[in-house]
């Protein structure tokens, strides 16, 4: 369970987040919508323990504080950046992170991962030579190497082609079936609605809407969101 109480994050005189309250139960699949600059990335970074809130409380079960070493192993964070080493090959990148995440780092297991994200055959190419979508695929493989319980996704579909998008939707569906928790920042209304079972809108740094998907059908939701983000 994740609980956020009265969270605020200031950059100088600018408040990116303020007065933000959010409770996420285990197994929740949340789509996070919001205008450009609404504070989605800021929130996800705080949840991932990469940024310190200016004030407020953050509580991730079972520890009552910023994610500790134990919590870190349960979180998978896919950010705007790929966190890949450009001068290592795809396989070397995965092997490195696998070692650090206490996951089997043998070549067959990792090749299997590469295959899942549709990069088989490119294992030995340096990441620098990958196209944008290929880098995003590898970043996905990397971020979820350790099969985390909590997925924090920041516009994960960026740069993916249709088959990559399909793969990732499947991945999320199976994660959901496996009882994982997920918070995903996304701009595509339809896709976000489709994947999530809870819809959260952040506006002006605070939660403007937080409803279960079942309470609105897509058209109603679309109307409401258009209105909120106008």
């Amino acid at each position: 369970m994740i609980e956020v109480r009265n969270l605020a994050k200031h950059f100088g005189r600018f408040s990116a987040l303020r007065n933000l309250n959010l409770t996420v139960s285990d197994g929740d699949f949340i789509s996070l919508f919001g205008k450009n600059g609404a504070g989605k990335t800021t929130l996800l970074r705080i949840l991932a323990g990469l940024s310190r809130p200016s004030s407020g409380e953050l509580y991730i079960k079972p520890s009552r504080q910023a994610p500790s070493r134990f919590i870190r192993g349960r979180i998978g964070y896919l950010s705007h950046d790929t966190s890949l080493y450009m001068d290592l090959t795809a396989l070397e990148n995965l092997r490195f992170y696998a070692r650090l995440m206490d996951v089997p780092a043998n070549a067959p297991a990792l090749s299997e991962r590469m295959k899942q994200v549709g990069l088989s055959g490119r294992e030995r190419d340096p990441v620098r030579s990958f196209s944008r979508g290929m880098q995003q695929r590898l970043a996905i493989a990397r971020a979820f190497l350790h099969d985390p319980d909590i997925l924090l996704l920041d516009e994960p579909f960026t740069g993916l082609d249709s088959s990559g998008g399909d793969f990732f939707k499947d991945y999320l569906a199976s994660a959901r079936a496996g009882g994982k928790t997920c918070i995903m920042a996304i701009h595509d209304f339809r896709l976000g609605y489709e994947i999530a079972d809870r819809l959260v809108v952040i506006n002006g740094g605070t939660i403007a809407l937080d409803i279960p998907k079942s309470s609105l059908n897509y058209e109603q939701f679309h109307e409401k969101l258009k209105h909120l983000l106008a």
Binding site: Y85, D87, L100
Partner: protein, 222 residues
Amino acid sequence: MYKIWAIFRKDLIIEFRTKDSLTSMLFFGIVVLVIFNFALGSLHETIRSAVPGVLWVAFTFSGTLGLNRLFAAEKENGCLQGLLMIPADRGAIYLGKMLASFIFMLIAEAVIFIIGLVLFNLTVWAEIPYLLLVFVIGTLGFSAVGTLLSAIAVNTRLREVLLPLMLFPVILPILISAVEATDIILNAADYRALKLPLTIMTAFTILFGTISCLLFERVLEE
């Protein structure tokens, strides 16, 4: 433990592939030597007494460069962020990075030293074990503090300025002791005088190694 090794190995592979840090470390070091040689061209008889200082200038330069690069590489695609998310003690990151910078520096120093010997016409077969000792301790101290400070510097806008600005004053005691020790080895025969500088270097290295390892966790975090 093997995580330290994994981080070290990764830097080694990247280095092996790009030859980035080592070449530039070597290059700057050698350039320092050559230009020193050139600047002191007219004072050939006094050159021997300047060699220890010159060598350590070269080492310090190349080391600072190396440290800067070693952490800058982590910044490129938000890799540091990836590292911060791993379920491991952050001390492991510190030790892995320190090991990498230590090894790179030692390699660079060895090459720079050999070139220095040729340039300055020195022969030092007998002194090599002693020199090695001084180099190893000095470099250890350098990379102990250097790794902490470059982890601080890398998150700032003024990265490349801040590292030397923080590092040089902090490192000065070790630098001076190292120059002193090298001078004793190369120019005086009385090895008992080595004790003081070596003690200072060792004390400094241990002190800063411990402090850095303890404080590293606080520093790494964006």
